[in-house]
Subunit: 348 residues, 2 copies
């Protein structure tokens, strides 16, 4: 049995279903263009906690709890949880999901983590290792500013190329064909969509060092994964209703479209970026757009899957992008390498 | 097809082979009881670099390069690399392996990361998603002290319960039955061992807060995974020649044996801890033992696989243990939750 397609890509023999999902976000995201679509919007960004890190943990806990509830499942039904976030040693995850007592496989791919968790979750089900898994990722504006840049109290200025880290967490319950059919027949509802392909990205480093322009740092990685995806799946941009990056923002979007043109692909009609969709850049002062693990995760759960459910779109390539920097690597003068993972999601 | 065994465990239908592996370590590890067994011992702990983080990256790069060379393979033969380390945002990995241009799935499980990478690597092959993958993890004493505790220049005192982070990286090339047979017939050598089972651990938090006694913080997680493993595989301690934890050290070993006794299992005859084996605690001033992602990884590559190759042992349970803390969570007064993943490794 081979479910591999070239060295970087995977096509599951049987599709893996997104049984259900949930999103929990902060106030700014609730006020944005997608605000009414999120499952839970916090009253403030502390979510009743005393630290930003605990607040982010609460987002993950809420998103997983809501996703399980919407799927009519309990934690005992889940084999593995694939989880990660942006904080050092993934503490939002460790303190967010420990109460669920689900075997944990921690993942790190910076803001591409949502894509990585869906890729591994899909493989664990398509490989026959699990019937149902959960994939969850999060970010929080204040914990990310503290982790990567400056404490909020410094009131630092942000260039127009900077993005605004999304406060939010998205959780996805994946299941096999068998449990999907079981869910349907027992009245627990239809799946939201199905995952039919994966392209795992490589680290791409163009030597850029500007952590205030992460869109440009990540665009080459998105271009690399996208080209590999088109080759491995023998596909073209117009095979997809949308090609959706995670958080390139307006600056990164332009770079990606240019790089793909150089490679002979025009994606300008299909390209969409979660970071551009989630805020109204003009009125919300978010500059290039939104970013963070949570950005692509909550946009997938609240907006993209809705479009697929309503059959407005039939097939999309969801491709979260990550910037592999830390404050230590930045302070030591290192570049900001990028990575991106592509997930083919189709309507049911 | 089901390769799952209970909710937390996996038994691959066909075994996955460790085609080859390599270890690269620092001077202190080279002077320890296993010193002569490592593939590469650095002349100093900077490895020709200007920062501790770059030194750790170099360890990963060297370990992967050596493992591929020993297996007679090049980077183009590898589908995925599962990689991680202890530093914030896994920068030792991002800057260590980027030159290989292998699709990357980043993992984080603190010092249990070696076990997690082998678990996911095994699943990717047993599921038919890849023929060959690489799993690599690392740690470095100086980068870890800076990341979790104090800069070395402070000369802080260490209690006897503290462990010493191993400077080292271990890399493993896993392959399917088909490529193993191909390697053998083309004269590239026999596999070192085979992986026949996996138990994925849950987060276990007893509320301990002492980051200078991580053995005690992690022992409850090791006990939880071990009990789950015995149940899922319907096995007993004497089914294994050794039950090998990653870095519990002398203090954690005692706690684990006591906890397992309470659960009705006597593992005192089988238990071994990589952290206890890697240093001579009395002459090397390492107190409770070694720790870090690198500790279990280099001990597996240099010592454990050698015992299996020589048929001194037939079957072991390799169970790296991780402490899910960060300096932020520690400074905010949070506990130190633990996690452990079990891998059944048998001789060929």
């Amino acid at each position: 049995m081979s479910q591999s397609l070239g060295k970087a890509s995977v096509r599951p023999e049987k599709p893996v279903y997104i049984l259900n999902s949930a999103s929990a976000v902060g106030t700014k995201e609730g006020e944005g263009p997608l605000g009414l679509l999120f499952d839970k919007v916090g009253e403030d960004d502390m979510f009743g906690c005393s630290t930003w890190e605990e607040a982010e943990s609460t987002l993950q806990k809420d998103a997983v709890g809501l996703a399980l509830e919407k799927a009519g499942l309990s934690q005992e039904d889940i084999s593995f949880i694939f989880a990660g976030d942006l904080l050092g040693q993934s503490i939002a995850t460790s303190f967010g999901i420990s109460s669920y007592q689900i075997p944990l496989l921690g993942v790190y791919g910076a803001c591409s983590t949502c894509g990585e968790s869906l890729a591994l979750g899909t493989m664990s089900i398509a490989g026959g290792f699990a019937d149902r898994v959960v994939c969850v990722t999060s970010s929080h504006f204040a914990s990310a500013e503290k982790e990567f840049r400056f404490p909020l109290e410094y009131g630092n200025q942000r260039p127009l190329s900077a993005t605004w880290t999304v406060t939010g967490s998205g959780a996805f319950v994946l299941g096999s064909e068998e449990v999907m059919a079981e869910s349907k027949s027992s009245g627990k509802g239809s799946p939201r969509a199905r995952i039919t392909g994966i392209t795992v990205g490589k680290i791409v480093d163009y030597g850029l060092k500007d952590s205030m322009n992460m869109g440009a740092c990540m665009a080459p990685a998105a271009a690399s994964t996208l080209e590999q995806h088109f080759i491995d799946f023998d596909s073209q941009p117009n095979c997809y209703d949308k090609i959706i990056t995670g958080d390139l923002g307006k600056v990164g979007q332009k770079v990606l479209i240019d790089l793909m043109n150089e490679k002979g692909y025009d994606i300008s009609a299909q390209h969409m970026d979660c970071g551009i969709e989630i805020y109204d850049g003009d009125s919300q002062d978010t500059h290039s757009g939104g970013s963070g693990c949570g950005c692509s995760a909550v946009t997938l759960s609240a907006y993209i899957l809705k479009q697929l459910e309503e059959h407005n779109w039939k097939k999309v390539l969801f491709m979260p992008t990550g910037a592999l920097l830390s404050k230590t690597s930045f302070n030591e003068g290192k570049s900001v390498p990028g990575i991106a993972h592509g997930i083919v999601i189709e309507c049911v």
